[in-house]
Symmetry: C2
Subunit: 164 residues, 2 copies
DNA sequence: TTGCCAATTGTTATAATATAACATTTGCAA
DNA sequence: TTGCAAATGTTATATTATAACAATTGGCAA
């Protein structure tokens, strides 16, 4: 059995997204209580905006929405909130897109692997221990000690393949 | 035996880098002849600047050096040359660094896997078929068709681990 | 309770990365 | 040799991110 853990699946097109958002925020609240971290209203709002969909969100898109709600929102407002959310593992940055996506399993450490559909733009996150272990192993053979892995796979998700 | 191919190793500190550069440019010239692509003097110069070391190079660092040599160098000068070199597989972008690194095996297709030393900054490139296959396989189990993989591993290279 | 400290947020400015759009030049082939 | 496509020049601007310092807030020790 593969040590695979689907942290955020590609959702059914019919899924009720409000549920995803609510679950994610709830998990973040719980994690913050446990850790003694502060999920302020600003940070919570940015987390909600990241979770508006399963597509990665641009920092400046978040900023545009924040500006509509709070006077004085500026780039540092967003980037500082994102920094916090990333440190706590509630949000990941997709390096190949310069965009941010919610993490389905905030408690969970490690960076995961991202599947990015080039057609619908949605992202699924998995955490496959075999992949991580194989990469660490092959790096080790070259004397390299792996500490962090960035794995982003572009392609077509099942729905978009089927729709072709 | 792993299907591992080291495209660019971490070099010995004693290595004669001029040789790396010469070999890389020679391979690019050969590949361009074969493919009917044009390695103009600008593109060749940018390739040389990317190959100044085994550390990824920033686009604007390349631009600064170009400006010292040619009047009128501007961001598009560099980005267009990098686009060409990337399309031909002579250069890769390290997404997590927004920087560019030479490819040791230009003929070779596929995106490879990058080992990035957080201490010395140098990068090695491998192309491990087992890693690529495992990722494609696990994605496939979720209905996802992998087309391109971005794999960047941060850690410590052998020399830097030893020096600690 | 008060006043202090650290964390958070506000504010202004700027740095760093990248592309758009159009003009000019170059190299090659009909 | 001229005409076209590719390459490069040129100017402007878009996008992504951080620096630096000020103001505010929230908890907690005296």
């Amino acid at each position: 059995m593969p040590r695979q853990n689907v942290l955020s699946p590609f959702p059914q097109s019919s899924h009720v997204h409000a549920r995803c958002l609510k679950v994610a925020v709830g998990k973040a609240e719980q994690a913050c209580r446990t850790r003694g971290a502060r999920l302020t209203s600003l940070r919570r709002r940015v987390l909600e905006l990241v979770w508006r969909s399963h597509e990665p969100v641009k920092a400046y898109d978040i900023l545009d929405r924040l500006r509509a709600e709070r006077r004085g929102a500026a780039p540092p407002t967003v980037y500082r909130a994102l920094d916090f959310l990333r440190e706590e593992g509630f949000v990941h940055k997709i390096e190949s897109l310069n965009a941010y996506v919610g993490c389905g399993e905030p408690g969970h450490l490690g960076s995961g692997q991202f599947l990015i559909c080039r057609h619908c733009g949605e992202v699924a996150e998995i955490d496959d221990g075999d992949i991580a272990a194989l990469i660490a192993d092959r790096a080790r053979q070259l004397g390299f000690a792996s500490e962090r892995q960035t794995i982003e796979v572009d392609g077509l998700c099942g729905d978009c393949r089927a729709a072709r």
